[in-house]
Structures are given as structure tokens and as C-alpha cells.
Symmetry: C2
Subunit: 991 residues, 2 copies
């Protein structure tokens, strides 16, 4: 194993002040500090740590609570302590109690993690209570760690939403507490496996270290033996070290206290009974047990410091129980030093523990891969949740797209977007709803049904508020206050306006920094329409009969036409019903042998109706490609090897051979008028599995729109449905998946890069999260699949790639959620139908990223359609772009959002890895002053990734001021290197 020295410096990052002095380097300096000024000298951060004893084993007791931002209860139920019949948990009381108890003894420490909860609590406190808490924070007695709005899931989240949720959490802390409120440590004690991209982001957010609790049981055993539970994670293959290097510690006991030492009200461990007058004086026993555990733990770590997490889920609601006993424990254990004991126990925090590791000046093992998949036992692979609740996973992804649009239009529309003709609009509700949805029991799909409903409702509420903002903004930009109508159900082909209107317009807003072209598909009841673009030019359009068996609503036909939208802007198309026209295209039984456009050719097997090959006409490459749908029979736990069933978390098929849903597909083809626009083959596999194979005229990707569900369960069998692509590509058991939508990692069957795997689950143990894409390749061909949501997948056979689409399970997998993942409700008593898209591209490996990078961004940030009924007023501006010009292909405009009255937050991203494109994996420069078409940029400062530190001041343990090496040639021109994200605060004014 490669080892690297993790260079810590002697510079204590603790008391860094958010001064503005260094900002004078910039030509136009923002004059406001990020946080409030600190009135007194403070001793928070590393300076506030308790002294340790160099010649002893120092045991760092870390009092903490782990407060899920929704799981068995909704986030607000958790906050209030409502529905304690489901789970006893009330965060308002935890914070009340911890603050009280911290005040009782200045030695005590507490860390708090989830800002979503802390924020709710804070705003209900009196100002004197707030002052008290500030004092505790300033003295390092209450320390924030992690500090995002939630503790995000790592397998199923997209980096865009993760950065956003971290930003709003850390911003709140910064604005409330200043430097002392800034977390030094990332803390993901509960997520079910760990993504490399998360570590990279944490490094770029300025965290000095990262601690987590869950990893593969074999990995842990190996690391215990090797004393490699503490390591240096090099989390990017593209960013120059140490930019994405992160010290990473694996906690000794998940995030729980050692056995026998849980003194929460939820535990039954014996309290310390130290009154000799009462029964069962047990101090000697407690001390002896503690010393045994401490000494034993020390044997699997490298230094004379060890950490113990004294807390767990929703603990410290009555913090007195914990602290009263911890006070006694510390007193009695340290009293043994007089008798020669070499164990020193102290209240501590993860950052204080980290500081001691830093001082130890050791060399740590280097890790460059990730911590997926996670198994806590031989047959317990947590790879089911990669796909669990696919509808929620998609809704979260669409919501992110809508939020980015909302954010952009808030900036572009100016103050009128927040207060305009449609009332008060705002993006905060949506931001918080999205932030909550990143939680590791939210988008992960591992929450109870009613909680999943709550997450969705929050997103819907947020979007409602954003719609007002979007309408106001578009009114300001277009000059028309005509009512905007949103058709959020176009995925099931429902839009009352288009179904009934004889004349309407549709505006297509594109949140990407380059133009997009895409088909628009609208349910209609007319048979012929005229469509014209923003210049009044007629646009080809196609009416075909609507597929009604797998859709909802009352439309009989579907209108399709191609639209183009400018960067960060919209284009408006008018649609009118025509009296006469050609008969709508209808579906005819049978599939063609071949469909093709100028880029791709797709063939079907006439006997089975399945895909049979895919060819790239430009590169003249061709592969055999068969695609079909299968289901794994979910284990019900009734099994000799293990009684683990498949559930919300766990994927455990009863057999490694999935059942094919149908060997043949019944097919239909739409006989369209404009085959250059779209060609469409419908495949029927079962009443509950169908697919539309679409080839758009100017697309380099083949679209497979799958519709799966409700999964039948009358046979009493839980089902996990996959689609499998079997190709002629020679993959050597290797495939590739992305990490949180960014960098791609190589995966090899039955193999882990850092230890000798004993594989016990041939399918589930080879599944990985696919966040936005996966590919298989050989020297010649790369087949890339871009997904529209997070899914699990694997490559079990040579040349094969399978993706799990939907799951319906009849047993709980005993990880706490206590519900089978059945997804029935009043609205869907039959179970859930889920629809999604896979986009396939075939390219030579050396240029594949040039296609899949922009393609995936188009899926992540998709155009938003708004509709207006009737005629638009003549002065309406039908087209608009917020950018002066499209950004270069390598640059993705990740964030544009209002920060405060006069400033906006901008993130620009180089979206290519260093090795994946000759053309695009190059540094690229953007001039910020020339970016916007309607905004003047008056000032600019660069921030760290999470926007809670000036970048100059972000100085982790022993980084040389490396950022200077990226100094821009001029103030306004910023250069982006592969996979780099740069974050700027811009002072702007609307022109």
C-alpha cells in the first residue's frame, strides 16, 4: 500500500479571524465580513482543547447526539418531539438540555452537527439565551462539527445539492457565531458508505479532517490489524494535492459509546453508583471495565490518543444523565493515576482529538478509492438503497434543477422577482427543502413512507414559492405579466392547459451556460398545431396518438417539437390549434429492423423485439447490444446462510440469477411525419414493464424511457427490477461509476483496491452507486449510460451493465426503519409506477467524456417550461439570455444565486477530469466581468467551496498557502483546472 505523509502545520486554525485585511489584494473588495464581529477574545477551536498527558493513554470522550433530519419521523416531528410513539426523539429538548448542562461545568464539551435542527431551535430562543449559547461557542464548550443543513447521504446525492446544503448550514453558523462557529471537522458518522467526492468536497470546504463510523466489516478488520483506521484520503485524481486530501478517521464503535457506558435516558446501562451508603456501590467495577476497554481500543490505533463517541441517535434529550455520569467517570478513572494508572480521560471534541493526532506527526496510510459498497456482515450489503424509492430520487433531482433555475432567475430578475405581479416569491423554502432532502435517510430512500411523503411535500411547497418568484422574474425579463402556468406532470403526459387550449405559448428556460436543443412533448386533444419560435418562424411539429395505457390524464394526442433555449435564458414558442392537418401519427404493431439519425443507428431483433445493436455513424463503431428487463427475487430472510432480507437499505437477492420478465417484447412503432425529429419504438414486456426507445433527430444519445410498476406482489415475492445491457464490449470484469455526479471511479468484480475481498454476495456485493452515469469500455468502445437519478448497478458478466430501476419488498431489513419498502399509499394502493430515462452513447473511450459530461449536465439542469394561455401581448420579450456568451464547453455554471441584497454567489466548475478528454481536460479561463449580459460585476472575492471562508484564509493544518499558486493572471479572469470548482462572491448591480 502506498503511504503518504499528511503534512500538518503548526498553525492552529482555531482562532482565525474573518478579517478583511487580505481582501485588499483584490481590485474591488467586498467590505462586509462573512460573520458577525467577535467582541471578546475567544478561545474556541483548537485553543480551547483540554490539556492531555503525553506519557499516558489519553481517552477523548466526545459527547454528541446524532439527529437524523427525518427518518422514522419527519424533520419537524423530530424537532418538536412529536409522535414519540414512533420513536422517542425531540431535538428542541436536546438543545435545551445540553446548553443547561454545559453551563454547569466548564470542562464539559458538546458537538452539534445538523444545522437544520439548530436553526429551528435558535430562532425560538430569547436574545439572552442566544448570548449564553454564543458564549459557550466562543469558549469552545459547544462546538459545531460538519455543520451542513443535514448529514448528507453519500451514495445517492448529487454534488450540486450537497454543496448547496452545506453552504446554507455553514452560512447560518458563520453569520450567527463567526469564526468560532466554523466547523473544523467533517462528521459523517451514519451514512452507509462513503463517497470519494464527498471527501474531496470536504477538503475544499476547508475541513481539517473527517470522521465516520460505517465501513465494510472486512475493511475494518483489516484496518484494525494494520492500525490503518486513520488514513489520508486523496479524494481526486484531477485536483493537485493536497487540494482534495483529507485526513480521515474511522471511529472505534460506529458512533456509539463503548458497551456498558451508555448513560442516555434511552439506554439501560448501570449508572455510576458512588454513594457508599446506598446499594450496589459500583465505582470500582466501572473504572475497571473502562480501563479494560480503553487499553483494548488503544491496540488498534496508532497514537496514545483514542476517541470515544459518548452518544447516539437523538441522545442527550436529558443531558444530565450523560454528564453526571461522565463527570464521575472522569473523576474516578483519573483518580486511579495516583495508583499508577496510565489512562487519562477527558472531555473532548473531534477537532481536539484531531489536533493531538496532528501533533503526533505520523505518517498515515494513503487511500485513493472510496468506501463503497458497505457491508456490515457477510450477507448484509447496503446496496439496495442506491435504488430505493426511485420516484423520490427523481423528484429530488428535478427539484434541484428547478431550484437552480429559481436561484438564477432571482438574480437575473432582480428584486422584482421576490416582489412582483404574482406576489411574494422566495427561494429559501425550496433551498431548505432541498437541503433536508440530502439527508442520509431522505433521498437515500431509507425513511418511513410518511416521512418520504413529507420530503416530497416540502419540495412541492418550496417549488410553489419558487414558482411565484420564477413568474415574477420572467415577467420582469419579458415585460409581460401574463399568468404563467406550470405543468409539473408532463412526465405522465398531463397538462390541463395544453390539453384544452387552442392557443398558448411555452417559454423554455435553460439554466445551463450554453444553449440547449431538445424536444418538447405536450399532451393535446387537437390533431394539428402550428408552432412558431421567438422570431415568429414556423417550427416543425408532430402530432401522434398518445400512449394511454401507461399514462394518465385525458389527452388523446401528443404534440412534439424541437426547441432551443439560450444560455441562462429563455426562448418562447407559440402554439396554435389548426383546423386541419395530417392525421396524427399512430402506433403500428411491430418494430422496425433499424432506426437511425445522423449520429446513431439502432437495430432490433425481429424475433424478440429487443435491441440488438448500436452503432455510432460518425466514428463508425458498432457493438452488439441486447437490452432486457429482469427481476431479482428479494430474500425474505428465510435462508440457511443468513436471515437477512432485502429491504430499504439492504439488497439481497435470493438467487444470483434474475428472472427475465419476458424473453420477447411486444413492440409498436410510431409512424411519424417528421422522422428527422424523432423516431419512437414502444416495447411491452409485461403489464408492469414497458419502454419507449427514442431517437431524436439531433441527439448523439439513444433514449430508453422505461416505465416500471406497480410491481406485482400477489405471488408473495419481493421484486427488484433491473434492466441489463449485454454488449460485445470486452470489459474484463471492470466497469465505471461516477461519484456524486463528478469524478468517475473504476470498479472491478469481486475486488476491492485495499484489501483481499472474500466475496459472499455475488450480486449485491458487486453493486455500486450510479449517480449520474456508468460506463463499460474496452480499448475501442465505450458505452456510457447517463441516468436521470441515482441508481444502483453492477457489471456481473463480461460486457454487461445492469442498473436497478425499481424495488418492491415485503420484509423490513431490520436496520430500524421497521417498514417493508412497499410504497403503497391511498393514492397508489396498487403500488408505485416509476418512469425514467437512460441515455446511451457509444464513443471511443478517449472522447466519450466530451459527450457524456455535457449530456449529464443537461439531465441534471433541465429546461423549465412555463406556459401562457392565449396571445402574448405584442411587447413581450420572447427571448433572453443572462450571459454575454455561452461559456466554454469545459465550464459548468454550477451556482448562481442571490447572497444578499447586493451580492450574488457564483460557482464555476471545470467539468472534466484531468485524463478524460484531450480537448476539454485543459485549464480554461473565464472573465467574470464579461460574464453577464444584464449584471454589472462591481466587486469580487473568492471563497472556499462552502462559502464560509475567504479563500485566502482557508488554511487547513499545514497547507502551504497553496492557493496562491492558482493566482489568476488578472483580477477578473479566473482559470479553472480539471474538476476544479471556484466559488465567488460578486457584488453586482442590474443594468
Amino acid at each position: 500500500m502506498i503511504r503518504a505523509s499528511f503534512f500538518f502545520s503548526n498553525m492552529a486554525a482555531g482562532a482565525l479571524q474573518l478579517a478583511v485585511a487580505l481582501l485588499s489584494l483584490f481590485s474591488a473588495v467586498l467590505s462586509f465580513p462573512l460573520g458577525p464581529e467577535t467582541k471578546h477574545t475567544t478561545t474556541c477551536g483548537y485553543e480551547s482543547c483540554h490539556a492531555t498527558k503525553p506519557n499516558m493513554l489519553n481517552v477523548h470522550l466526545v459527547p454528541h447526539t446524532h439527529d437524523d433530519v427525518g427518518w422514522l419521523k419527519t424533520v419537524d416531528q423530530y424537532f418538536y418531539g412529536d409522535r414519540n410513539d414512533i420513536q422517542h426523539a425531540g431535538v428542541q429538548y436536546i438543545l435545551d438540555s445540553v446548553v443547561d448542562q454545559l453551563l454547569k461545568n466548564p470542562d464539559r464539551r458538546f458537538i452539534y452537527v445538523e444545522t437544520a435542527f439548530f436553526y429551528r431551535w435558535w430562532k425560538r430562543q430569547s436574545s439572552s439565551a442566544q448570548q449564553t449559547v454564543k458564549q459557550l461557542v466562543n469558549e469552545g464548550r459547544l462546538e459545531f462539527v460538519n455543520g451542513g443543513w443535514c448529514m448528507s447521504d453519500e451514495a445517492t446525492t448529487h454534488y450540486s445539492a450537497v454543496i448547496d446544503q452545506m453552504t446554507i448550514g455553514l452560512r447560518f453558523l458563520n453569520e450567527t457565531f463567526g469564526a468560532c462557529g466554523r466547523p473544523r471537522v467533517a462528521w459523517h458518522i451514519d451514512p452507509f458508505g462513503h463517497a470519494r467526492e464527498h471527501a474531496s468536497m470536504f477538503a475544499q470546504m476547508g475541513y481539517d479532517g473527517f470522521f465516520f463510523g460505517r465501513l465494510d466489516y472486512q475493511d475494518r478488520m483489516h484496518r484494525m490489524v494494520q492500525k490503518e483506521q486513520e488514513l489520508l484520503w486523496r479524494a481526486s485524481d484531477s485536483l493537485t494535492p493536497p487540494t482534495a486530501d483529507l485526513f480521515t478517521g474511522i471511529l472505534p464503535n460506529g458512533y456509539n459509546p463503548p458497551e456498558g457506558f451508555c448513560w442516555d435516558q434511552s439506554c439501560d446501562d448501570p449508572p455510576i453508583r458512588d454513594d457508599p451508603d446506598l446499594e450496589d456501590y459500583n465505582v470500582d467495577d466501572v473504572v475497571m471495565r473502562f480501563l479494560t476497554i480503553a487499553n483494548s481500543q488503544a491496540t488498534v490505533y496508532k497514537t496514545n490518543h483514542i476517541i470515544m463517541t459518548m452518544g447516539s441517535d437523538f441522545q442527550y434529550e436529558n443531558a444530565n444523565l450523560w454528564y453526571k455520569n461522565l463527570d464521575k467517570l472522569i473523576h474516578y478513572v483519573n483518580a486511579q493515576q495516583a495508583n499508577g494508572s496510565k489512562v487519562n480521560v477527558l472531555y473532548s471534541t473531534p477537532s481536539c482529538y484531531l489536533q493531538e493526532l496532528h501533533r503526533a506527526n505520523l505518517t498515515w496510510a494513503l487511500k485513493t478509492d472510496d468506501f463503497f459498497p458497505y457491508a456490515d456482515s457477510a450477507h448484509d450489503f447496503w446496496t439496495g438503497y442506491f435504488t430505493s424509492r426511485p420516484a423520490l430520487k427523481r423528484y429530488e433531482r428535478i427539484s434541484n434543477s428547478n431550484l437552480q433555475t429559481c436561484n438564477q432567475l432571482e438574480v437575473l430578475g432582480g428584486p422584482a422577482s421576490r416582489q412582483g405581479p404574482f406576489g411574494e416569491g422566495e427561494s429559501q423554502t425550496m433551498k431548505k427543502a432541498m437541503a433536508v432532502a440530502q439527508h442520509h435517510d431522505a433521498v437515500s430512500g431509507t425513511e418511513k413512507q410518511h416521512v418520504a411523503n413529507d420530503y416530497a411535500r416540502r419540495l412541492a411547497n418550496g417549488w410553489q414559492r419558487c414558482q411565484v418568484l420564477v413568474s415574477n422574474s420572467l415577467a420582469a425579463l419579458s415585460g409581460s405579466s401574463a399568468k404563467r402556468i406550470y405543468c409539473d406532470n408532463l412526465n405522465i403526459s398531463v397538462c390541463p392547459l395544453t390539453e384544452s387550449s387552442k392557443k398558448f405559448s411555452v417559454s423554455v428556460y435553460n439554466p445551463l451556460a450554453r444553449p440547449v436543443t431538445r424536444p418538447v412533448r405536450l399532451p393535446v386533444n387537437g390533431t394539428a398545431y402550428a408552432v412558431s419560435d421567438a422570431n415568429g418562424k414556423a417550427v416543425d411539429c408532430q402530432v401522434s396518438t398518445r400512449e394511454v395505457r401507461r399514462n394518465r390524464g385525458f389527452a388523446v394526442n401528443e404534440l412534439v417539437f424541437q426547441v432551443q433555449a439560450p444560455p441562462l435564458g429563455y426562448s418562447t414558442y407559440s402554439v396554435s390549434l389548426r383546423q386541419a392537418g395530417p392525421r396524427p401519427a399512430s402506433a403500428q404493431p411491430g418494430a422496425p429492423t433499424v432506426i437511425q439519425n445522423k449520429f446513431l443507428r439502432v437495430t432490433f431483433d425481429p424475433d424478440t423485439g429487443l435491441l440488438s445493436s448500436l452503432s455510432n455513424l460518425e466514428t463508425k463503431q458498432s457493438i452488439k447490444l441486447t437490452q432486457n428487463f429482469y427481476w431479482y427475487n428479494a430474500s425474505d430472510g428465510n435462508n440457511l446462510e443468513s436471515n437477512q432480507p432485502s429491504g430499504a437499505y439492504i439488497f439481497r437477492p435470493n438467487s444470483s440469477t434474475p428472472f427475465v420478465i419476458s424473453r420477447t417484447a411486444k413492440t409498436e412503432t410510431i409512424q411519424v411525419q417528421f422522422p428527422h425529429m424523432v423516431q419512437e419504438v414502444r416495447q411491452w414486456f409485461a403489464p408492469w414493464v414497458s419502454q419507449v426507445v427514442r431517437l431524436h433527430g439531433d441527439s448523439r444519445a439513444l433514449e430508453l424511457e422505461w416505465t416500471v410498476g406497480p410491481l406485482p406482489i400477489d405471488d408473495g415475492l419481493g421484486k427488484e427490477v433491473i434492466t441489463r445491457l449485454d454488449t460485445s464490449i470486452k470489459t474484463s470484469e471492470i466497469f465505471y461509476t461516477d461519484s456524486n455526479g463528478r469524478e468517475v471511479l473504476q470498479r472491478k468484480k469481486d475486488f476491492r483496491p485495499t484489501w483481499n475481498l472474500m466475496q459472499s454476495e455475488p450480486i449485491a456485493g458487486n453493486y455500486y452507486p450510479i449517480n449520474s452515469r456508468a460506463f463499460i469500455k474496452d480499448d475501442v468502445d465505450q458505452l456510457t449510460v447517463v441516468t436521470d437519478r441515482s441508481q444502483g448497478g453492477g457489471s456481473i458478466h463480461n460486457g454487461s451493465l445492469e442498473i436497478m430501476l425499481h424495488r418492491r419488498l415485503l420484509y423490513d431489513d431490520v436496520r430500524g426503519v421497521a417498514e417493508p419498502l412497499n410504497e403503497t399509499s391511498n393514492i397508489f394502493p396498487e403500488g408505485l409506477v416509476v418512469r425514467g430515462r437512460l441515455l446511451l452513447s457509444l464513443d471511443p473511450p478517449s472522447v466519450a467524456a466530451d459527450a457524456h459530461r455535457p449530456l449529464a449536465q443537461e439531465v441534471v439542469m433541465q429546461p423549465l417550461l412555463t406556459f401562457t394561455n392565449g396571445d402574448l401581448s405584442p411587447n413581450t420579450r420572447l427571448e433572453f439570455s443572462g450571459l454575454q456568451a455561452a461559456l466554454p464547453p469545459a465550464v459548468h455554471l454550477l451556482t448562481l444565486t442571490q447572497w444578499d441584497k447586493d451580492s450574488v454567489l457564483l460557482r464555476l466548475e471545470h467539468q472534466f477530469q484531468s485524463w478524460e478528454s484531450k480537448v476539454n481536460s485543459q485549464p480554461v479561463t473565464v472573465n467574470l466581468q464579461k460574464l453577464f449580459s444584464t449584471l454589472d460585476v462591481l466587486g469580487m472575492s473568492e471563497l472556499n467551496l462552502s462559502a464560509n471562508q475567504w479563500k485566502d484564509e482557508m488554511m487547513r493544518f499545514k497547507e502551504k498557502p497553496l492557493l496562491k499558486t492558482f493566482q489568476d493572471p488578472s483580477t477578473w479572469e479566473v482559470t479553472l483546472r480539471p474538476m476544479e470548482i471556484r466559488t465567488f462572491l460578486l457584488r453586482v448591480s442590474l443594468r
Copy 2:
């Protein structure tokens, strides 16, 4: 129904100072105050109550916790919060938390009840924490109610032990907090039925009122309709009103909060969610539900004040949950007054509520009977616990006797008793063990087995400490430091010393204030002994073969001789093995037709071997008397009418007809040498039921020594064993039982004095607690049975009296204890054998009390035997009496115990009811200065019954200073009227 006005005065008893001014009335005044001086003006008690609104319905919210002094866990486990796996409860944390929360808002109130817990907590607090608590008490924010060491059981406790336990609890409060710590209200919210004697004692302890929660469900319904849930209880038929009058309130909901308003951590009711930004704002709903409940409750009470108990078992461990929501409730409910609501809600205490009832100046219903038996449903009579754990009940009663001896000898022996030749002795451990044993899940027998074991162990530990004291004291009094040996197992005929020694002496200490004569029965292995009394005079003695089948140990013979012991003193007998003598008397098969002494004649039925008649030879009265043993088949809950099984609390026979254990008894008779000393017939009913019928030479009572157990359960049937006396007495379905060992109440079959009973359990619904005696009578004959412990019993048939002796049950009765009352253990895997005595006397009703009153006291305060091996040194004082003379027959010396260095507490009791004896039911006067033989009485002050107030100052709501009417003719002469107990603090010095 009779009604009486309950006269409240305007005198606020709240801030009474324990000044010493009035003490100058006495010739020799004690100069120390009872409690600490109060430094500041305080506003505790009634003065600290929140204002109410006269034109509104005032809802008094009373935050409280009910902390069982042992039940499912031991008292110390409850204190620490140990064994939370059994029940989540930790009193240390409750008090920590409540104090913290009271400090947060001066409006908040809390009451605390059980001093056993408060004391444990207090002594672990820092002095600054103690000062804080004192301040809360002085401001009436923390108020003590009840305040005894525990909340005693009312059915199975003896008044002697109840007074003691109240005294040590209230003394602690008084010494710690002074007047503000004195409870104004008695609070028995949980005991399972309420004894009239308890109410009488509470009145005499100076309580202004009494609240409880449990009463018969029919009684409650009737009282709700009649608005008689608040009443005046006249609790004595002998004491002059209002001495034993007590205002009594029945709480509306047991002691729980109204449904939906439990905000403890142990409850799941929805918290008040008043942040409109979060989900499920519910303030309107909460307020509406509360108003509905309050208005509904007001319809069944008389005034515009109602009380709500906001708490329950071991609640307030995290008081923040309760108070945070109560603060909100009060705020939002009272805010509705602006909209015309006429409900005013406030933090309150039982005394503040009581004050408002007092101010209402109403007339209340008068009650003169008691609240037994308690049924919470038609088939759920809580009459099983009257007998549950008969061995523990007896051990508690012996322990009380031993403690009184220990207390007396601590006084009589002086300081040398605490520090003497046998080391340090003390009585505090035993006092506290006895106090704990009075708890309503202790001597009641309704605790888990391991907790019952703990109570017994505490008593044993206490007795160990007392034995040192007793040995020291007897050494000082006798002048001999020879080792004293205690034979605590004489009840099972085990005493290693007497079994092996050839020469030993036995000292008989008599704690009664008059001489006693009684047989001593010792296991021996010799066949002939010589016994001499303190004067060296030979004493007749009898050796007989020991019954080994139902006893333990290794003795083959039993030595019996009669001893006499002086009042509050001892007499010492010497025993020597003789080389030769008559052959030991042995048991011969068969019973005589008749046995008799000079007082009684007893006949046996020659066919059955059972008793057949009893005659009083002095009064020449005779009754038919058959006695036999039966068992009720305990319901297993599998029953059409109800699924209630018999259990630790509930008595529910499966049939009203008990099974006879045997229609005939196999009998044996001991052919004794001295029939004038003792005659003995042994009866065998089954291997598990036997009895010895004994007639002692100079006794007016027939002794029935029963031995029952282990009850067989191999037939799968729970058994409740009774003995039944069937007589020729014409009882008209009436019988009599005592209340806590004092006044006797009349019981009538299927009848309750205050409502029209619908009887649903013909046996269990006619059971009552028998604490020390029961009798049946007609105009001519009264058969009185004195018991040696509390038992349940009834008179189901005319002329019949049945007493339940032992129970063994296979099902839990779902009242929380969650164990069947099976009483198996490692030591007794077969189940428990229990032995006890019934003493029968037959007299004309008019003089029966002259016999049973002293007889019962001899059982309650029995002589203590101590043994010394070998010869005593010649200077040993062999006889001693602490009194100058025996007290008159009507006077019982209830208490003589060291109070502090120079003073002792004395209680004298008139032990006759006003109506029960021509001779003895007369006032009687005692001169305190002439009481003791070895103590000079230097000063004297009279106290209330619980010794926490000077009697002069004990002024309950509107008592005229009635005590003056009992002014003694001279300072030292005190007159006792029937059933009066007078309590004195004496300053004494040893002569």
C-alpha cells in the same frame, strides 16, 4: 347522608414560625427550636399561591412526580436510575431536573412527596445547590406534600410504623427547611384504598387536607353525580371533633394528567407546536381540547376551582418537556380570555387549591367509614394484597417490635448503647428500613420478588445494627459484657446455641409498659433441663419431642417454660442440662375430646379431628366453633365475565365456593408433664397444611399456630388458602375489622355505608383488611381473632369468619408488577412455607376489648429473647424495669426513642375506643415525671403526632385552639382520652 360544615378559618397556616415563645407555658421549657431559623421573610405556603380569578373557572395545574419507594425496582435502583431495563426511572435525575426547571420561571411550581428519595438526593448536593433549593422552598416554588419517608400503604400497615415513618420524613424536612418545608397536605394518590385510621393520623399530624386518587369505581360515579368528590372525613368515633376531621379531595384522574396532556418523556402525547413556520401548528387544537376537558371536569366538582395532576410515576426526569409545554399551555389558554374565554389556568399546588376550596366557604359531605375495599372495575377488587407475601408481612411486624425494643434500649442504656463493648450500634438503619417497608408496594406485597428480597434484607441489616445497640444497652443495664446471642429463627425452631449448650441464660426484654407472662419454646437436644428465674427460683419446664416434619434445624426436643418480664425491662432465666429426668413428652396419635385451662375449654370432634366448640369458663359462655382450611381457585383470567386474573393486588376466585383441603384432620396430642403450663394438639390437613392448637396455662386466648405451604401448583391452579371459623354466633352478615391496628369498623356483607352497592364479586367484594384483629358477635358472644400480621378476611356466611393466610398465583394481574405472585427463589424453589398464629378469645361483647386490646399489643410488641452461653458473672443484674411502675391498662407506651443528645420522644396512647369498655374507655392520667425509673425528666413539650410542630402551634384551617380544652391539670400530669395519642419531647438525663 349526613353533612357537616367544615370550618375553615381565615388564618393562613403558611408562614407559621416554629418560635419558642409559647413554650413558656410549660414549667420546664425546651430551648431548641424544631427546625432551623429562617433567615429571610419567606412567602411559602398559602401566601405563595398564584392569584386566581373569581369570575372564571380556575384550573390548578399541579406538576408532580410519583416516586415509589420500591416496586419494580429497589428503592436505591429507583434513586440512581439503575436497572432501567426493568422500568425507566431515576429519581436523582428527577430532582436535578425539576430544580433546574423551577429556576427558569418563577411561576412554575412543583410538589415533592417521598422524603426517602429527597433525603438521598439532598445529602449529595453541594451547599450552594442546597441554598438554591432552600430558596425555592422558601418562595413556595418547591413545596413538600405528605412528606413522610414514603407514601405508606393503608391496608396492611400498622399505625405504630406509619407514625414512625411519617415522623422521620417530616423531621428531616423540618430540620432542613423549617416551617416552609412543612407539608400542609397529605397526598396518598396511589394507595389501593384508604383507611380511616390514616385520615385520623393525618388530622392529628396537622395536615389541612388530604388528596387521593383511587376509590371504588361505583363510589366515584356516585360522588361525581352528587358532586361529593370533596368531603369531610370524620376519621374517629372516639376523638372529639374536629381532632380527627380531615378535608378530603378525590383527584379527577387518579394522579395522571387529562388524556392528551401528558408531556413527560415517558408519554407520547403531541407537544405544543407553536412555530407557524414548522409542520402541524397545533395550538388551536390543544387549546380547544383543554377547554373542553376543563369545562367537563368542572361539572363534577362544586367550586369554580378544579385541580389537574400534571405528572405520574417517576415523571419529570426531564422536567423541561413538561414545563416547556405547560408554559405554552398556560400562555395560549389564558390568551383566549381576550376572546371571552372564562377559563383561567395557573401553576398551583394541592395546598393552593385547598386554600381556594376553603375560601369558597361551602358545606361538604361528611364521611365516617372508610374507602375499603377498592375496586377499579366490576371484577377487579384489590383485596388480594391484604394477604400477599404473608412472610414479608410478618417479618415487617416482628421488625417493628424489634425496632421499638431497640429504640427503648437506646434511651434506657444511654450513650453506652451506641458505643459500647460490642462496638457501634445505631437504630437509624433499622428506622429507615422500617420506614421504607411501609411503602404501598412494600409491606403490601405488591412488589417484584427481587424488591421484596431487598426490603427484607434492609430490615435484616437494620436489625444487625440494632443488635449491637441492644447488646451494648443490656451490657450497661446488666453490668455484664458477656456476648449476647440472638436466635432469630425460633419460629422455625432453630437456635444453634440452645441446641448445643449445656448451660445458658435467656434474657426476656419486654417493650410493653406492663409486665408480660409468656411461654418460651426452645429447640434442644437434651432430654431434661433445670430452669431458674432471676431470683434463682426453679421454674417448671417441659421437654417434649420436637415436631420435625414442619420445622427446620437439628434439634430433637423442645424445651418450654413460662417467663415473666417487667415493664420496659428484662428478666433473665438460667437453663442447665440435667443428667436425668423424665422422658420427653411425645406426640400420640389422636386428639382429646377436650382440652382446657382455668379460662377456656376447647373441644374437638372425634370424627373429624377438627375444633368443635369454645367455652369461656369465667363467663360460662360457649359457642359451636368449627375451624378448617380451604383454598380458592384463583382465576386465571380465562373467564366470560372478565379476563382479570387473581394476582398480587387482585383477589378473584374462580368460584365462590372454596375447596376444602381435608374434611378431617389427622391429629396428634403431646402428652405433657405439666398440663397446666401448655396443652398442644397437632392437626394435619395435607402435607402442606398443618396446625398446632395450643392452650397455655394462664392465657385467655386459644392459639392456633398454622403452617401453610409450599402451596402445590403442579395442577396448574393458583391457590388462595383461607382458614374459616364457623360458629353459632348470629352475626346478621356483620363483622368487624380494625383499621391499621387501632379503631374497629363494622362491615356488612354486600353493603357500603355511603352508596347502593351492586355486588359483582361475592367473595372478593366482601374482603377487608384485618390488620391486628377481627371479630364477629351477637348480643351474647363475641369471638375475637387477633392476628400476628395483616391479612385479608371476610364474613361470607352467618356466624362465619374467614381469614386468608397464604396465596400462590400463576398469573400476573396486570397492574404493573408483571410477575405472578409465586414466591419461588433459589432458597425456596418449592415455594414458600408460612407460619403464623391466630389468637382466639370468646367474651361478652361489652368486655371483649378488655381482652383483645392488651392481647393484640402483646403480639405487636413481643418480648425479645437474648441468650448468653455458660454461666453469667456473679454481679450480673438479672432483672430490670425502665418504668417506676406499670402503666394503667388503658395506656400503651407507643414510642420511646432518642431524639437527640439530651432529649427523647415519648408517645403515650389510650388504646381503647370510647365505646368498647366500661372499665377502660375512660380518661386516664399519667405523670410524666414519675414515669421512668432511671431517667430524670428535666423538661417537656407536647408535639403534634408527627413531632414536627409544637402542639400549641398546630392550628389547622379554623380549628379554635381546641387543644387548650385538653389542658392538663398539672404540667407533668397528662390525661389521655379514648384513642388519643399524645406526643412529648422530654429532656432527660440518666440517673
